[in-house]
Symmetry: C2
Subunit: 419 residues, 2 copies
């Protein structure tokens, strides 16, 4: 957790001896947030209320998951006065208990998410021992009973020359903005995807400043689901059906993050690298293999399973290198480096036919591609690229960082043998 | 992915040079499954059907998540004939398309989960290029329209002298059985927790041999939810309300795994270790800090955030060590080792008041505790333990493996400086 007095540890090489032993720590794109989430303060009614309404506080707005932006390389922030009417002034004025007791499923409550404090920006906000500039995100997608107000807000932002940046991947931001965007996008998406309880099917409500959803025991709306037809508002709330998530702690109440494995695979002698390609990739463009971690699998097992399923190659040793949050919609990419078993290098594509091709490349070809063949999927290759040679993903992808690590000898047995 | 011809790579020290560079790969408890999940065959109707009904196939039964067992150290397996009546013979006889088209939410379908093939046990099952003993798990919890049949099955098993082992943690199994148990438990639990669609609130159905749930577009039951009252069976299925999960791929259709960070923290000079304790721990019993990974956080960031929130200590370098599936209910524990910044070692418990205590221990005390002070939470300390000294978790916990790694110099800067 970076503080104002200390450099960001992810970028600060505190100990070159460690670096020599383990390689440099990589802060992948979408990680490295400048915000302190102070996660334990989300339930602190008085803290969240005063952070929300402070004059220094920054609000990031999302319309259908597209962030309000100056341009595709810069997010736009607004102030509390700009969103106050839409969010109903201060939705955190009531305690969480009061919010749940007053639950009326026929009324849409805009999602207001507390992101954290930028402790390096001292904008005058102070609450007890905590200081910094508060950041929030608001979902302004026109829907439900706030559809009209949301449209007005969206139009007023467009009137200021700002736009809601479209497109699934938003890769031109500075590293700190990319992390703030990823954080907000993940949580707004999770809230939007989960309006109902998986345990009982009834609608849920957001609490903990946007980071938890609970299944309230009562409802002022007369009908159990909005799909039932015209609802009326009751003077006394009705009891809802029992729900298992109301007893103890349920993981269904908390955001979902899907662990994914992605791996640079080297041959047993570490002289070649296994890469694969999907049909949709441009010609000569390859990447590392990847897949979702399954229930009750270690990351190391998932790496070996996915590599075998997609390429037929059998791995021995697997070492975890670094991780990257990937907010489309909620992946945690866990990057690993694996070494093939001496007699496990033969490629078989007949098991899981997910890849169009999988192939061993000489390490020198990978090094050359990292120098001149790097680009996004829809971009041209770099300067100096010779048509027909290998093309690889850009530096914002963890795949690139893993390949760079093996090209630099992270799992080079020849180098290791000198230790 | 282990095969019959190759040793299990997790236990096979393929390259002692790599071990010298990165330390030995640890296969934590609950990982190291002997089964090949052949995940791509789950949708292969003909494969799953013939695996289910083969005479060599083993079935693991769970009653309310308690596995059928010989004793607390050994699982019991049954044959297809033992469960055939309960599961309706062969539920995979129909294609997935037919199953979804015939969906009737008023009928309970027992959950039948394909676990994989044990390729080292050649029991005679063969299907194309795939050979081995198939493993399935069945949820026999008495519920819904199969309550009576389930009770009969449970009683017949008890009549054979077997029991459904109670208790949340099931830690006496051999390593391969622990992995099979964890795999089955995770997926049965996920299915049981998610009978409704989080996107639209309507009931869902299991497909892909127990590893996916979808929201069918039609229903032969007359009422939208079982909570609505008495339902009738329609001669033509009714259309259900629209659901976003039916368009494209939705992560809500797939099992949920919650990534968790757990970390051994060393002081900047690597001479001391930071440990914490909760109120419920026995006296002198400490463990590593841990917490859930949040949306759009890298593992490295989550480690730094949790350590700061719970103890006030600021970390620099974070290295990921190994991972452990933890099926209560669906955690993936990602074990890391972190080093405090030189001026970040002061302990503060006033931020997130989750721990009763957090304290720096001399490495020598940790080494001594690993020798004689190791036990489960409800067990006595080991032989030779001197009352008042540090106590630590057992070898089945990744916390123990992380502490062992630092005690053996995994992040020892003095050792690293010699490289």
């Amino acid at each position: 957790m970076p503080t104002p007095d200390l450099p960001n540890p992810a970028h600060h090489d505190i100990d070159s001896m460690l670096t020599r032993k383990f390689g440099r720590e990589i802060a992948n794109y979408f990680s490295g947030s400048p915000l302190n989430r102070v996660s334990f303060l989300r339930t602190d009614h008085s803290f969240i209320s005063s952070a929300l309404t402070h004059s220094s506080t920054s609000f990031l707005l999302f319309n259908d998951l597209a962030p309000l932006s100056v341009n595709t390389n810069k997010l736009a922030y607004v102030k509390h006065e700009d969103v106050s009417k839409f969010i109903g002034g201060n939705p955190f004025e009531k305690t969480e208990e009061e919010i749940v007791k007053g639950y009326n499923s026929s009324v849409t409550l805009p999602l207001v998410l507390f992101l954290g404090l930028d402790e390096e920006k001292k904008g005058g906000f102070e609450h007890g021992i905590y200081k910094g500039t508060p950041y929030f995100a608001v979902d302004v997608t026109p829907r439900g009973t706030v559809e009209g107000e949301a449209r007005k807000l969206v139009e007023s932002m467009k009137g200021k020359g700002l736009s809601f940046a479209e497109g699934r991947v938003f890769m031109g931001l500075s590293a700190p903005e990319a992390a703030i965007y990823a954080h907000a996008r993940s949580l707004l998406d999770w809230n939007a995807r989960n309006p109902f309880c998986g345990g009982c099917g009834q609608p849920t409500i957001s609490i903990n400043a946007g980071t938890k959803r609970v299944c309230p025991p009562t409802d002022f709306a007369s009908l159990p689901t909005p799909q039932g037809g015209a609802t009326t508002v009751l003077s006394e709330p009705r009891q809802r059906a029992a729900c298992v998530t109301r007893k103890g702690i349920s993981n269904l109440s908390f955001p979902r993050t899907d662990p994914t494995v992605i791996m640079a695979v080297v041959s047993h002698d570490a002289k070649r690298v296994l890469l694969g390609r999907q049909k949709r990739f441009p010609p000569h463009w390859y990447s590392t293999l990847a897949g979702f971690c399954e229930p009750a699998e270690s990351v190391e097992e998932a790496v070996r399973r996915e590599v075998w399923e997609e390429s037929g190659v059998h791995l021995g040793r697997v070492v975890i290198h670094s991780t990257q949050p990937w907010p489309y919609p909620a992946n945690l990419m866990i990057g690993a480096i694996g070494q093939a078993l001496p007699d496990g290098e033969k490629i078989h594509l007949e098991y899981d036919p997910e890849l169009e091709d999988a192939k061993w490349f000489d390490m020198e070809d990978v090094r050359e591609a990292l120098r001149v063949g790097v680009s996004g999927l829809d971009e041209p290759a770099g300067k100096g690229y010779v048509e027909g040679n290998l093309r690889l993903p850009p530096a914002t992808a963890i795949a690139h960082q893993l390949l760079k690590a093996v090209a630099e000898g992270f799992l080079d047995v020849r180098e290791a043998s000198k230790i």
